[in-house]
């Protein structure tokens, strides 16, 4: 059975039909590019994915890294794969030419990452984290810090981490206790314990650059007193050569449900004098810098969840086309031959759901990539501002919807394959385990829902919400010209009206009712909101498909576009109607969870 990592046709559709990636070449930064160069980058991504990632993924999953008290050991194939990503330039697709990058538009660079993530999410984790780390230092570090750290991070000599979480401070970073003391030479001495730090120790690179959140002695309590530090595993001399080992030590490794190739570490900083750290930007501004990076990271979490959902869908689809089992209810007699399971409508339901979730999630994340690019390279100030407003507003949904529905898609991939999906001779159970992290890290599902309802929606007189609704209205207008999409447009219009009504009622209640009660169903609000956003994304895909079908395309394309319209139909028939029930819960300030007492459990 040969399953593709991703559907090449769908990537074409997303990049060049739904989003106009070719149009990006009109922007100065991307003027050297063409569809050809963008496709060439994707071809290289596929080659590296097929050669270095897919063949090792099961071994990486079953041979977790170990710690012997001195060093971390992992299967050598991980280093070969990480090196291949760096050597091929895939790690720095979006970076400047001068930094060894290819200056690809974000939407293409992120698709490259999605390819590799789909083929080996835990191995790719080292690269994506290192990039996020370098982006942060580049945005907020001094020129000297950029030279010292960013250059080797980009070239693959160093790796990077994000060290935020502590045993007593996960969702609530306000409570973190790692401390920093200023030394005479202007650097700081860091002391404290961090947990769950991904990539916190390994020998894949010469050095590891930790970005550590800590509290400077005497700083204000809470989020206002958090600063950000560069704390390397090895100090670096002023000529760039490697110096002594810093006081950063590995206390141990965590053993995880999924993502097993990516070390998850407990780190101790400064067991004696304090680990040497260098302040990034201003004191007490650390959380703001970290959030800058986390917004990018959240979009990458969405992409990662979508990638695993997409590849699980491709795998179970290929299986379903070839597995003979059972007969249709209409088949008479035991003598009839079994059908391939894709002939069972219930199996097609599960495949359609996966298609709707995974391709909906992917398109949503690519919208995030495009908006991120527009905020930086958009032609006009107006476009940049609008993109910034919309992106900031949609980030909780771009992070959360794929994280929630991606694992659901992977669960269905297992179900499609029956007992064969549950065992590790096939990778779908691993996809599920790998994907299950996504609603937990970078802000849990619950935390994201609070961010959306209590902060992002009311912000600036609902500015983000209004931009979003005006974008939906544009789509509704376009859909009204397509006879077969008219009904969907009406349904989406009603859903948006209901969302707006619910939102207004909740914002009103936030001022007049107990806030803990009003926010107690915030996750249902996120889900409501998310399903409306994804219904909109599907309608946009439907418009492209309907227009293409009107041009009488050749047979394979006809099937492809009909598949898009059918997934749209699935989403509007099976998923969007659920929002009606959630709207009712929300506007009634339903208190079922709120009223539940601890002692009643």
């Amino acid at each position: 059975m040969a399953a593709s990592i991703l559907s090449e046709r769908d990537i074409e559709f997303m990049l060049y039909e739904l989003f106009d990636a070719e149009n990006m070449t009109l922007r100065e930064r991307y003027s050297d590019h063409s569809r050809e160069t963008m496709n060439a980058a994707l071809t290289t991504a596929r080659a590296v994915a097929e050669k270095y990632f897919v063949p090792i993924r099961q071994k990486v999953d079953t041979h977790q890294p170990t710690f012997d008290g001195e060093k971390v050991h992992m299967v050598p194939e991980i280093k070969a794969a990480v090196d291949a990503v760096i050597d091929s330039g895939l790690a720095a697709g979006a970076a400047d030419y001068e930094l060894g990058g290819m200056q690809l538009p974000s939407i293409v660079a992120d698709t490259v990452t999605v390819y590799l993530t789909a083929a080996g999410s835990s191995t790719m984790g080292y690269t994506t984290l290192t990039n996020a780390n370098a982006n942060l230092i580049e945005a907020h570090g001094t020129a000297e810090q950029i030279e010292r750290w960013v250059e080797p991070l980009r070239s693959g000599r160093f790796a990077g981490t994000m060290a935020m979480t502590e045993p007593g401070a996960g969702s609530s970073l306000a409570d973190l206790t790692t401390s920093a003391r200023k030394a005479e030479d202007g650097s700081y001495r860091i002391t404290g314990n961090k947990i769950f730090i991904s990539g916190g120790d390994h020998d894949l690179n010469e050095n590891i650059v930790h970005l550590v959140l800590a509290r400077i002695k005497g700083a204000p309590a809470g989020v206002k007193g958090i600063s950000l530090f560069i704390v390397p595993k090895f100090l670096v001399n002023s000529d760039g050569s490697m110096g002594e080992r810093n006081e950063v030590s590995l206390a141990g490794l965590f053993h995880k449900m999924g993502g097993r190739g990516h070390t998850s570490t407990a780190l101790n900083f400064g067991e004696n004098e304090g680990a040497i750290g260098y302040l990034v930007g201003e004191e007490n501004e650390g959380l703001r810098y970290m959030f800058h990076m986390m917004n990018e990271a959240r979009i990458m979490v969405g992409h990662s969840a979508a990638a695993l959902a997409l590849t699980g869908y491709q795998y179970s689809l290929a299986y379903a086309r070839e597995r003979p089992q059972g007969r249709l209810p209409s088949a008479k007699g035991a003598g009839s031959s079994p059908v391939n399971i894709i002939q069972h409508p219930d199996v097609r339901r599960m495949l359609l759901a996966q298609k709707a979730y995974s391709e909906g999630a992917f398109a949503l994340c690519l919208l995030g990539s495009q908006l991120m690019d527009d905020t930086r390279t958009g032609e006009s100030e107006e476009l940049r501002l609008r993109a910034d407003t919309l992106l900031d507003f949609l980030t909780p949904v771009i992070k959360s919807w794929p994280s929630e529905y991606g694992p659901r898609a992977n669960s269905l991939a297992i179900q499609v394959m029956g007992g064969h999906g549950y065992i590790n001779e096939h990778p779908v159970e691993m996809f599920y385990r790998d994907n299950r992290l996504n609603p937990i890290h970078e802000g849990t599902y619950g935390i994201q829902s609070l961010d959306l309802l209590a902060r992002k929606v009311p912000m600036n007189g609902m500015a983000g919400y209004r931009v979003f609704v005006s974008e939906v209205e544009k789509t509704l207008e376009e859909a009204s010209f397509q006879p077969e999409l008219k009904d969907y447009a009406v349904e989406l219009e009603l859903a948006v009206a209901s969302l707006t009504d619910t939102t207004n009622q909740l914002l009103h209640a936030m001022e007049h009712e107990p806030i803990d009660l009003v926010l107690s169903n915030s996750v249902k609000y996120l889900e409501f909101f998310g399903n409306v956003v994804v219904a909109w994304i599907w309608l946009r895909q439907g418009i492209v498909a309907a227009r293409a079908l009107a041009d009488d395309p050749h047979e394979a394309d006809r099937d492809f576009y009909r598949g898009k319209l059918q997934a749209l139909r699935y989403f509007f028939r099976f998923e969007l109607p659920e929002t009606e029930a959630w709207a009712k819960l929300l506007v009634n300030l339903d208190s079922t969870s709120f009223d539940m007492q601890e002692s009643w459990f």
Binding site: S4, E8, R9, E12, D32, E36, T37, A40, A41, T43, T44, A47, V48, K51, D87, S88, G89, L90, A92, G93, Y97, G100, G101, M102, L104, P324, S337, P553, H554, E555, A556, D557
Partner: protein
């Protein structure tokens, strides 16, 4: 030493091809295209010769419509120094390709020409041999190893009975088999550098060749669907079926 490598634009090996509804041809509309895998091996071998200091220049040539410049640039991104496109329309048969390549050989005077042993679309396995006949150059086909030794090249060939090594006088023609090497992929910075490399376009007339067609395609249809198998009761039944139904023993 100059090395000429021929590259062909074909359907990507990952694509499941379909016949057109009217059976006139394979449906190539909007289908992902790529460099023929055997040609990729040819490019890799040439680039390795250059890296080893044996070759001084690697020229990638493709015969086809303008779109095949994409595959030439792929070869340039993999390490070829410059490219040549011989512009033709529609599909051209192996003999015409061989004649056009002969024209390029005469212009460029390479010491070594490396081609794929066949392309995964036509599966003809003819162009290299025809070029050998037309140019009167020695040929080593189905190569699994190529070693340049002064004025000669030793080519190890994959033949039915195992491996056969032939020694050819340069200039010579080599066609590649799958095990010759494992091709690299283009690094992202090299993809951009390839855009700046020289790419010349010739017409068949420039090379003094008239494009003629000697073959016509009658029909393209998908292979018959494989029927489900059955389980036999015992060995006797198997033997009986092999004898009387399949008539193979």
């Amino acid at each position: 030493m100059k090395v000429l490598v021929a590259v062909k634009r074909v359907v990507d090996y990952n694509v499941k091809v379909r016949a057109k509804g009217d059976g006139s041809d394979v449906d190539l509309n909007n289908v992902k295209m790529a460099i023929n895998p055997f040609c990729e091996i040819a490019v890799e071998e040439a680039v390795r010769l250059k890296e080893a200091g044996v070759a001084t220049e690697v020229i990638a040539v493709s015969v086809g419509e303008k779109a095949c410049q994409e595959q030439i640039r792929t070869a340039l991104a993999l390490g070829a120094d410059r490219g040549i496109q011989v512009e033709t329309e529609g599909s051209v048969e192996p003999l015409v390709v061989a004649k056009l390549l002969k024209g390029v050989v005469e212009k460029e005077q390479p010491q070594l020409v490396i081609l794929g042993k066949q392309s995964i679309d036509g599966d003809n396995n003819q162009t290299g041999q025809m070029l050998g006949a037309l140019t009167n150059m020695a040929q080593g086909t189905f190569a699994s190893e190529v070693k340049i030794d002064g004025e000669t090249v030793n080519v190890t060939r994959e033949v039915d009975g195992g491996l056969q090594t032939v020694q050819l006088k340069l200039p010579a023609i080599v066609t590649t088999d799958l095990r010759l090497n494992e091709p690299r992929y283009a690094s992202l910075p090299n993809i951009m550098k390839a855009k700046k490399k020289q790419l010349d376009v010739y017409s068949p007339a420039d090379l003094g060749v008239e494009v003629k067609s000697h073959l016509s395609q009658l029909k393209v249809e998908p292979p018959a669907e494989r029927q489900a198998g059955i389980k036999v009761e015992d060995v006797d039944q198997l033997v009986d079926k092999l004898k009387n139904e399949a008539k193979v023993i």
